[in-house]
C-alpha cells in the first residue's frame, strides 16, 4: 500500500519539482545563449584577424578597435561627434513622432481627414528622405536643422501609419461605450483614441527609432562636418578603418540602447497589456 503522497519513487510532487527545475535550467541556458552569441562573434573576429585569415587592414581586431575607442574618447573628439549626432537624432525623432501621432490620431478618428491625407502620405512615403536631402539643404541650409528635418521626415511615416492602424484597431464596442456614456470630442481623443492606439503606435515609434539611426549616419555622410556618420565617412576616406569601426560600433550600441529604452518605456506606459 502507498501512503497519500505515493511512495518515494513516484511521488507526484517530487516529479513536478524535478520538472520545474529542468524548466529553470532551460530558461537560464536561453539567457546564456543570448549573451554568448555576440561574444563568440567578437572572439572569432579577433582570432581571424590576428592569425591573418582576415586582412588586418580592413578588419582590425576588436581589441585594437577598443583601444582606438579609448584614444578617441580621451582626446575628446569622439564626444563632440557623439553628442552632435545624439542631439540631431533626439530633435529629429521628436519632430517626426509628435506630428506623426497627432496627424495619425486625427486621421484614425475622422474619416474625411483620413481620406484627404492618406493619398498624400502614400505618395510621399516611398520617396527615401535621403533622396530629398538636396532639396532639404536648399530649404534649411547645411546646418543641424537640415539633418533634423531629414530624420523627422523618415520617422514621421512609420509613426503616422501605425497610429492610424492603432486607432482603427480599437474595438467598436469601446467606441460605443464612450458614445453611450457621453464622451466629449476631447475625452474621445485623449481617453479612448490615444490610449487605445498606443500599443500599435509604439510599434511604429520603435520602427521610427531604428530608421532615425539609419538616416542620421547617411545624412551625416552626405553633408555634414561633424557627427558619427561624418566620423565613419572621413575615417573611411582616410583609410583609418579602426576609427571607422569605432563609429559603426557606436551606432550599433545606440540602436541597441534605444530599443531597450523604448521597450522599457512600453511596459511603463502600456501596463494593461
Amino acid at each position: 500500500m502507498r501512503d497519500e503522497k505515493g511512495n518515494g519513487l513516484f511521488d507526484p510532487y517530487e516529479t513536478e519539482q524535478q520538472e520545474w527545475k529542468k524548466q529553470q535550467v532551460k530558461e537560464r541556458s536561453k539567457q546564456l545563449l543570448t549573451i554568448i552569441s555576440p561574444i563568440l562573434i567578437l572572439l572569432i573576429w579577433e582570432i581571424c584577424s590576428r592569425t591573418g585569415i582576415l586582412d588586418i587592414r580592413f578588419f582590425p581586431p576588436p581589441s585594437a578597435i577598443v583601444s582606438t575607442f579609448f584614444e578617441l574618447a580621451t582626446n575628446g573628439l569622439l564626444w563632440t561627434h557623439v553628442s552632435v549626432s545624439l542631439y540631431r537624432i533626439a530633435a529629429g525623432f521628436l519632430l517626426g513622432v509628435i506630428p506623426g501621432v497627432v496627424i495619425g490620431l486625427l486621421m484614425g478618428l475622422y474619416a474625411p481627414i483620413r481620406h484627404f491625407i492618406s493619398p498624400i502620405v502614400m505618395a510621399l512615403m516611398p520617396i527615401p528622405t535621403l533622396a530629398l536631402l538636396p532639396i532639404i539643404i536648399i530649404f534649411f541650409g547645411i546646418g543641424d536643422f537640415s539633418k533634423i528635418v531629414t530624420i523627422a521626415g523618415s520617422v514621421f511615416f512609420p509613426v503616422v501609419i501605425n497610429t492610424v492602424a492603432g486607432v482603427l484597431s480599437i474595438e467598436k464596442v469601446h467606441l460605443d461605450v464612450a458614445k453611450n456614456y457621453g464622451a466629449s470630442p476631447k475625452d474621445f481623443f485623449f481617453k479612448i483614441a490615444f490610449p487605445g492606439a498606443l500599443p500599435v503606435m509604439l510599434e511604429g515609434i520603435q520602427m521610427g527609432q531604428a530608421i532615425a539611426l539609419l538616416t542620421i549616419v547617411a545624412a551625416e555622410m552626405m553633408g555634414a562636418t561633424s557627427g558619427i556618420g561624418y566620423l565613419i565617412w572621413t575615417s573611411y576616406k582616410a583609410f583609418m578603418l579602426k576609427e571607422m569601426f569605432v563609429g559603426l560600433i557606436l551606432i550599433s550600441f545606440f540602436g541597441f540602447l534605444f530599443s531597450l529604452l523604448l521597450r522599457g518605456l512600453q511596459k511603463k506606459i502600456v501596463p494593461w497589456r
Partner: protein
C-alpha cells in the same frame, strides 16, 4: 411601482439598406415600460432586439417612429447601457471603468470618488480597484460593466445580454447580484436575453419577439414575488408552463427561419 410610463416606444421601424437590398430589422414596434419596471426582451436571433436597444442607447437612428424616455431630473443622464462581454475598457483600471460615465460628465472629483466607491463595494470589486480588467475573470469584468452603469445613475438602464458569455455558475451569481442592486435602486430596466430562465428570474414582464421582420408577438407577466431565487422560479408550476410556451415559440421561430 408607480404607474408612470418611463419608456415609450411608438411605431419604431428600422431598415438596413445596402446596395439595392434592404433588410427590415423590426417593424412597427410599440412598447411601454413603466417606472421601476424590469422588462426582458426575448426573441430568436435576427429579431432586431439588439438593434432596438442600440436605438434607445443613442447608437443607431430609427428609420421611422419615435421613442421617449421620461426624465425626472435634469441632472441624470437618460440612459446607460451594460454591454455584452467586451464592454469594459482595457486601458482603464477597474475603478476608472466604474467612474467612466461620471468622469465623462465631468462631475466633482469628490462626488465621483464616493459614488465609485459605493458601487465597487456593491459588486465586490473594492479590493481590485487598481487592477486592469485583463487581470480579472469574465464574471468580474461584467460586474465592472454593471457597476459602471448603476454608478452613472441614469433614468433607465439598458442591458444587452450581459451574461451571455459567462459560465452557468457565474451567471446565476451575477443574476442574483444584479437583482439585489436593482432592488435597492428600483431603476427601470430593459434587458435583452435569449435565455428563458434568465428572463423568468429577472423580469416583471417578458416581451416576446419574432423575427424577419422583428415584431412583438406576446407579453407575459411574471407574478413571482420578489426577492426571487432560481429555485423558486424553477419550482413554480405556472412558470414551468410559461417556460414551455416561450420555448415552443422560439422553436417555431428557429424552424421558420431555417425553412
Amino acid at each position: 411601482m408607480s404607474n408612470d410610463v418611463k419608456i415609450s416606444i411608438e411605431d419604431l421601424t428600422k431598415v438596413f439598406y445596402k446596395k439595392n437590398n434592404s433588410v427590415t430589422a423590426f417593424k412597427n414596434v410599440s412598447l411601454e415600460v413603466k417606472e421601476g419596471e424590469f422588462v426582458c426582451l426575448v426573441g430568436p436571433s435576427g429579431c432586431g432586439k439588439t438593434t432596438l436597444l442600440r436605438i434607445l442607447a443613442g447608437l443607431e437612428h430609427p428609420s421611422s417612429g419615435q421613442f421617449t424616455i421620461a426624465a425626472d431630473s435634469d441632472f441624470r443622464p437618460l440612459q446607460s447601457m451594460v454591454f455584452q462581454e467586451k464592454g469594459v475598457i482595457p486601458w482603464l483600471t477597474v475603478e476608472e471603468n466604474v467612474a467612466f460615465g461620471l468622469n465623462m460628465r465631468h462631475l466633482p472629483k469628490e462626488f465621483i470618488r464616493k459614488q465609485t466607491d459605493i458601487y465597487l463595494k456593491k459588486v465586490g470589486l473594492r479590493n481590485f480597484s487598481k487592477l486592469y480588467p485583463n487581470e480579472l475573470s469574465g464574471g468580474m469584468k461584467q460586474r465592472i460593466s454593471i457597476a459602471r452603469a448603476f454608478a452613472n445613475d441614469p433614468e433607465i438602464l439598458l442591458m444587452d445580454e450581459p451574461f451571455a458569455a459567462l459560465d452557468e455558475q457565474n451567471k446565476f451569481i451575477l443574476q442574483e447580484e444584479l437583482l439585489s442592486i436593482w432592488s435597492e435602486t428600483k431603476k427601470t430596466v430593459l434587458f435583452i436575453t435569449h435565455s428563458i430562465d434568465e428572463a423568468l428570474l429577472l423580469s416583471d414582464r417578458i416581451v416576446l419577439m419574432s423575427a424577419h421582420p422583428g415584431k412583438i408577438v406576446n407579453e407575459i407577466k411574471v407574478p413571482i414575488p420578489r426577492p426571487r431565487t432560481m429555485e423558486q422560479v424553477r419550482a413554480n408550476a405556472e412558470m414551468a408552463e410559461q417556460f414551455i410556451a416561450i420555448w415552443n415559440h422560439l422553436q417555431q421561430e428557429v424552424q421558420r427561419s431555417r425553412g
